[in-house]
């Protein structure tokens, strides 16, 4: 049950945050299913997806939360980012307000989780480069200042998406390996992969008699 996670694999939790309509759901859809759909629904209910990957022969299971962007949902934020190993803060390069929102999230995450969490900032919609309003230098220097990686992506054209998640995952692994070396006894945020056997009991369950 509690074998070392470097040999068996990592369970890492990631949360996608950012203003509404910047492309959080689209980035995830591109990453998980390699699809893009411009006819989709606005996200109201945060959703949870798993992705299994291999990096350098390490088995990694990413549990990714996609959240609703509108400011009104802000209060639910902690439910999704608590215990996260990494956060992707998405903004739309054609929307300055969405970059301000990224800064707010960075502040909040730093305050609540300190440096335990790996941050990556993603400037999405680079297919609309000609409509860019968030200056390149500003975004990049801000990212350096707060110690976050900065990536450019286009979920639509499939640019930079794979790389975004790869960068994040590598950093999360690094951070995890560091912390587990430093404080061995400290309860780690990374859980050991433990594929639970589904309960097979055929005991009388109330639902069976419903029909």
């Amino acid at each position: 049950m509690s074998n070392n996670n470097t040999s068996s694999g990592y369970n890492l939790k990631v949360v996608l945050l950012g203003e509404g309509c910047v492309g959080k759901t689209s980035l995830l859809l591109r990453y998980i299913e390699d699809k893009f759909n411009d006819k989709h629904f606005s996200t109201l209910q945060a959703t949870f997806l798993n992705k299994k990957i291999n990096i350098n022969n390490k088995r990694i299971n990413l549990a990714i939360w996609d959240t609703a962007g509108q400011e009104k949902f802000h209060a639910l934020g902690p439910i999704y980012y608590r215990n996260s190993n990494g956060a992707i803060l998405v903004y739309d390069i054609t929307d300055e307000d969405s970059f301000v929102k990224v800064k707010n999230w960075v502040k909040e995450l730093k305050k609540m989780l300190g440096s335990d969490i790996v941050l990556v900032i993603a400037g999405n919609k680079i297919d609309l480069e000609h409509e860019r309003t968030v200056p390149l230098e500003e975004a990049e220097s801000y990212a350096i200042m707060v110690g976050a990686k900065h990536c450019y992506t286009s979920a639509k054209l499939n640019q930079g998406v794979e790389n975004l998640f790869l960068e994040l995952t590598q950093q999360m692994i690094e951070k995890h390996d560091q912390t587990s070396q430093v404080g061995g006894s400290r309860t780690s945020r990374v859980l050991v992969v433990d594929d639970e056997i589904p309960v097979q009991s055929s005991c009388c369950s109330g639902s069976k008699s419903n029909h």
Partner: protein
């Protein structure tokens, strides 16, 4: 019945409720909804207000948020498929008018699917007053900052499930599936994103007559049963099962059957409401902001 609505409703509520539970005939449904939710009353009281609200400039941030969402509601429905089409224009107008009328809420993303669903049934001005009534009375407080009311109702649902579907409740507790993780969308947009068309109509017949809790219980019981039956083994799997339940449990007859089978009384709701309100009040500030 519709001509003398108020008198009929106050005298014969039980009869109305019974009719609603049986399903309102499609031919009178839009009109019945307008009366049931009180939209007609508001419309009569403020005959010109909708037009006036549309003339107002509107908060720029709200207008921006609304525009971003117009193409993201029922994107495959012919009414909303075209940008700049009548459907999207009307949707904008209705949402804008609400944001001007109630600047405290402004625009909440969950209102868009509700408004779009209403627009599929009735002219914009009627849809607007129904939206006002639904937002301010039926879903009262859901759109307030902090989403406290939403979280409380989630807890009520959870507590009621313990009684109505103990197996489901155990499953949810075991995998730490909190109501806010699966029921946010159900509550906020009154199931418009959750149910298949026919079931949605039937549930709304009940919802507009009996309030949000009716719809809630129907769904909670039915979906939960579906999830438990599948024996989804984990948080992710359970959420997935709740999000995409087996088609059978969303059939209209199954849902309505479930509702009539459940013996929950007003008192049960009231009791749970009080209990959860008190419990939340006693909590330290959970939101962290």
């Amino acid at each position: 019945m519709l001509n003398n609505w108020e008198a009929f409703m106050s005298k014969n509520y039980k009869k109305v409720r019974e009719r609603c539970r049986k399903g309102i005939p499609a031919s009178v449904r839009p009109k019945a909804w307008l009366y049931l939710c009180g939209g007609q009353l508001l419309l009569e009281k403020h005959p010109n207000e909708y037009e006036e609200l549309l003339q107002a400039p509107g908060d720029p941030k709200c207008m921006d948020d609304i525009r971003k969402d117009l193409h993201r509601q029922f994107p495959y429905h012919e009414m909303f498929i075209r940008e700049e089409g009548v459907g999207q224009q009307e949707l904008f107008s209705v949402l804008k008018a609400y944001s001007v009328l109630n600047p405290k809420v402004g625009y909440f993303q969950a209102q868009a699917p509700v408004a779009a669903f209403l627009l599929m049934h009735m002219p914009a001005v009627q849809a607007f007053w129904c939206l006002v009534s639904i937002s301010d009375k039926y879903l009262s407080g859901y759109y307030n900052p902090g989403l406290e009311v939403l979280q409380r109702d989630g807890d009520i649902l959870h507590a009621l499930l313990r009684r109505t579907a103990p197996a489901v409740h155990r499953h949810l507790v075991k995998h730490k599936v909190e109501p806010v993780l699966y029921a946010t969308e159900w509550f906020l947009c009154a199931l418009t994103r959750t149910l298949p068309w026919d079931s949605l109509l039937r549930v709304w017949d009940c919802f507009l007559c009996e309030g949000v809790k009716a719809a809630l219980v129907i769904l909670g019981g039915a979906l939960g049963a579906g999830a438990a039956r599948r024996r989804a083994g984990g948080l992710c799997e359970t959420l997935e099962a709740l999000r995409h339940p087996p088609a059978a449990v969303l059939q209209e007859d199954y849902l309505v059957y479930h509702m009539t089978r459940l013996q929950l009384t007003e008192q049960d709701f009231e009791f749970e409401h009080q209990r959860q309100t008190a419990r939340r009040r006693a909590l330290p500030n959970r939101s962290g902001s």
